[in-house]
């Protein structure tokens, strides 16, 4: 009843080609952004910002980047953690080595260097595919772990190999309260989210999808595999790199290579798979699932225990958390192999007919 595009006639090319052609979608997106920027700050406390919302925003951004590569272009990558690390460390280096470097430029520089590294490690994708490519991108992970641990230059010759940043500010706006950090990350996410959404429906996005669906056929109809694959690697690692820089700068404040370990790569891949491959929205669902659910379980299980009069030990909580989490992943993949985003689009379909499905 509320969600149907009947009667929305497009009279110009511009109207026909906008990002969200359906009026309701447009309003919904505006409402979500407005809620995130204005409503959320009125509702939540500091813990929520720091422990849930900020990690969620940053990892959504990273998942978005990975989704472009894995979901849209079909190139399985296990090197996302490494690209995050490159983003974080190179942003750090740009930030501390160049005097008076603006924060945003430093973060984008992190993304830029991640792009370069992504391109280098994307080259094998021209020859190897599927699982073999995943293994090849693992090399990126190990190489970056090694480089940031061993090469003193990257960490500004810090004895412990851990780096830290503080006093973040953008054009005189000091970012130190959780709310400011949240808004800062939100700004990045909105900009990159809209850019990505636009990109995947452009010519280049369609090339990626053609390559994903069948690369031989794509090549036959005139899509250059090298260009398509490498551009997917470049765009993806740029976004992932910026997310990594935000993770280090805004969320952790001080980090070491372990913050971007192989676990992080897997986590990002799971986000994409659970959220929905080839869906921008799916990146957000996946990130929410992976970030929020463990924390939720971790807090709810002891509370549930006390409710029924059982004192659950910390270790048991942690183990149960893993078990439930793992079981839920399997359950979701069986029930909805196309990810949470598919549920979302089914919901949208049903809404079109509601309340008269027949």
């Amino acid at each position: 009843m509320f969600y149907r595009e009947n009667g929305q006639f497009k009279t110009s090319y511009q109207a026909d080609q906008q990002i969200f052609p359906i009026t309701q979608d447009r309003w919904a997106i505006l409402a979500i952004i407005a809620f995130a920027a204005i409503g959320v700050p009125l509702l939540v406390d500091e813990y929520f910002y720091r422990a849930i919302l900020i990690p969620f925003l940053i990892l959504s951004l990273a998942a978005l980047g990975v989704n472009i590569l894995v979901g849209y272009c079909g190139q399985i990558s296990l090197g996302s953690g490494a690209f995050m690390a490159v983003g974080a460390y190179m942003a750090y280096n740009t930030y501390v080595r160049v005097d008076g470097m603006p924060l945003i430029v430093a973060l984008l520089a992190g993304g830029f260097f991640a792009t370069l590294v992504g391109l280098v490690f994307g080259i094998p994708s021209l020859r190897v595919k599927g699982l073999y490519l995943a293994v090849a991108t693992l090399a990126a992970q190990f190489f970056c772990d090694w480089a940031f641990l061993r090469i003193g230059w990257f960490t500004n010759n810090n004895a412990s190999g851990s780096v830290s940043v503080s006093n973040l500010n953008v054009l005189g706006w000091t970012i130190d309260t959780p709310l400011e950090k949240y808004l800062f990350c939100l700004g990045f996410l909105v900009v990159f989210g809209l850019l990505a959404k636009n990109l995947v429906r452009s010519a280049i996005g369609r090339e990626w999808m053609a390559i994903r669906d069948m690369d031989v056929a794509a090549a036959v109809i005139g899509i250059r595999p090298m260009y398509a694959k490498l551009s997917a690697f470049a765009v993806s690692s740029f976004i992932v790199g910026v997310a990594g820089a935000l993770w280090g700068f805004v969320h952790l404040g001080s980090w070491e290579p372990a913050a971007f370990s192989i676990d992080r790569s897997f986590q990002l891949l799971f986000m994409v798979i659970i959220g929905g491959m080839g869906s921008i929205m799916g990146s957000f669902f996946g990130a929410a699932f992976i970030v929020v659910l463990p924390i939720f379980l971790n807090q709810v299980l002891p509370a549930l225990g006390t409710l029924v009069g059982v004192d659950i030990s910390t270790a048991t909580v942690s183990h149960t958390e893993y078990m439930i989490f793992g079981a839920l992943i399997v359950w979701f993949l069986i029930v909805e192999p196309h990810g949470l985003a598919k549920l979302w689009s089914i919901g949208k379909q049903k809404l079109r007919l509601w309340p008269f499905p027949h």
């Binding site: 422990a51 004895a159 412990s160 952790l252 980090w255 070491e256 913050a259 409710l307 270790a315 942690s318």
Partner: protein
């Protein structure tokens, strides 16, 4: 139909869970001093993390049995970090909101991350024996307290012990010491002090990193077999330690030439190897395994005796258990000291506890009264010195238990002080901080 059932089930579950969550939020105690407990009872470091956590919690329970801190009872909550920095940060944020007054991160990575956050939240960090070595400089690190030892103290004392064994500093010339370290900020903390000492005495130092979690050491030991260093210093944690000793056994490297950091000198590291680890040494930041200490007996009778104990009874008094208890004691005594100034029998804020930790004066008489007789030496901190004591001993595994094998050593201030100052100044410059003024020290 199916979808509707699903939605219904989800809604019911959500409602149940949220109602379960509410009561815990509502029970914020007013008259209790809240101690957050960051632990890792799972993951690669659990074998060592569990006894530490048990000791920490048991000591807090003991304080309550003794009547609290001047009547203020302690409440506490555990949070599992799994040694991961991001989970540690989440725990910090979660427990901070519940009125936490002092944090003990129990991981160098988490310490680094919290060092950036604690000053803004006005919560002190105790990193007893670990964390950033330069944070003993209270002039720069106002909120960090590496009480009773840092990694630089540990590294320095190990070299001192080797000098003593060799029979003079000049004998070290041309010798070869290999540092096998956990490739993380924790492991790297050892490098500067050993390099400093190497330059001083002219011994060769080779650095052999081992990646997390440390089960893969074949190539490292191949190098050791080839170079045959005179001593091996083990800067490991968790499963890395037992692997290292097994590799040493396989390589035929004498175990009595290996010195571990205090994270690498506890029962879980050696007990499965038993005789094979005989002769293996480790540094202790003052205490070792203390089954006969007074406070251990008190915990056994007052906490375990009442069925309130955490973990197995026979582990009470082991090295890491004592470490946990001692760390808890430092936090509790910080609160007690703060009460001296800000009002006895009151709940202290983080800022007040910080003052207490900075003016900690644990004399031998006080320590004895707390049950730490023969376990610890006096600790007294000040505005400039957040460490308060630089004593250490070496203990050796005799095949079935840890025994002290050296006298007390004190870390060489002449070496460590300039290093601390340089590193702290570098940190301050990076952060654009200025040193605290004398007036700030009074506050």
């Amino acid at each position: 139909m199916k979808l509707r059932q699903l939605a219904l089930a989800a809604a019911v579950a959500a409602a149940g869970l949220s109602s379960a969550l509410l009561p815990t939020v509502a029970t914020a105690q007013a008259k209790e001093q809240f101690f957050p407990v960051l632990v890792y009872r799972t993951g690669a470091y659990a074998p060592n993390g569990v006894p530490f956590a048990n000791g920490y919690v048991d000591y807090l329970k003991l304080v309550n049995e003794r009547g609290g801190i001047n009547g203020v009872k302690i409440s506490f909550e555990e949070c599992e970090t799994g040694y991961a920095t991001d989970r540690g940060v989440e725990c910090y944020e979660r427990l901070k909101g519940k009125g936490a007054t002092v944090f003990q991160p129990l991981s160098t990575g988490i310490t680094f991350a919290l060092t950036e956050k604690a000053p803004a939240d006005k919560i002190p960090l105790i990193t007893a024996g670990y964390g950033r070595s330069e944070s003993q400089d209270g002039g720069v690190f106002k909120w960090n307290f590496p009480i009773a030892g840092t990694y630089w103290v540990a590294g320095d004392v190990i070299v001192q012990h080797i000098i003593k064994k060799e029979g003079g500093a000049d004998k070290l010339k041309g010798k070869h010491i290999a540092l096998v370290y956990h490739d993380s900020p924790f492991g790297k903390e050892a490098i500067p002090i050993l390099q400093e000492r190497a330059a001083m005495h002219g011994f060769k130092l080779s650095l052999l990193p081992v990646t997390h979690p440390g089960v893969e050491q074949k190539s490292t030991w191949l190098q050791i077999r080839r170079d045959r260093p005179d001593y091996v210093v083990n800067w490991g944690w968790g499963v890395m330690n037992s692997t290292l000793i097994k590799e040493a056994q396989a390589t035929g490297y004498p175990r009595d030439k290996i010195y571990g950091v205090w994270w690498a000198g506890a029962e879980p590291d050696v007990k499965d190897i038993g005789e094979g680890a005989k002769g293996y040494n480790a540094i202790t930041m003052q205490h070792g395994a203390e089954p006969n200490a007074d406070f251990v007996k008190e915990i056994l009778s007052k906490v375990h005796g009442k069925g309130q104990g955490t973990g197995p009874k026979d582990e009470v008094g082991q090295v890491l258990y004592v470490r946990g208890a001692m760390s808890a004691m430092l936090g509790v005594e910080g609160v007690r000291q703060a009460q001296e100034r800000f009002g006895k029998g009151k709940v202290m804020t983080g800022e007040q506890v910080r003052w207490g930790l900075e003016n900690l004066n644990l004399t031998q008489a006080k320590l004895d009264a707390l049950g730490f007789k023969g376990v610890l030496r006096p600790i007294s901190t000040s505005c400039q010195d957040h460490m308060g004591s630089a004593w250490a001993r070496i203990h050796t595994w005799n095949g079935s238990k840890w025994e002290f094998s050296s006298d007390w050593y004190q870390a060489d201030e002449m070496i460590i002080k300039p290093m601390v100052k340089t590193a702290a100044d570098k940190y301050a410059a990076e952060k654009k901080l200025s040193r605290r003024t004398p007036a700030d020290c009074q506050s």
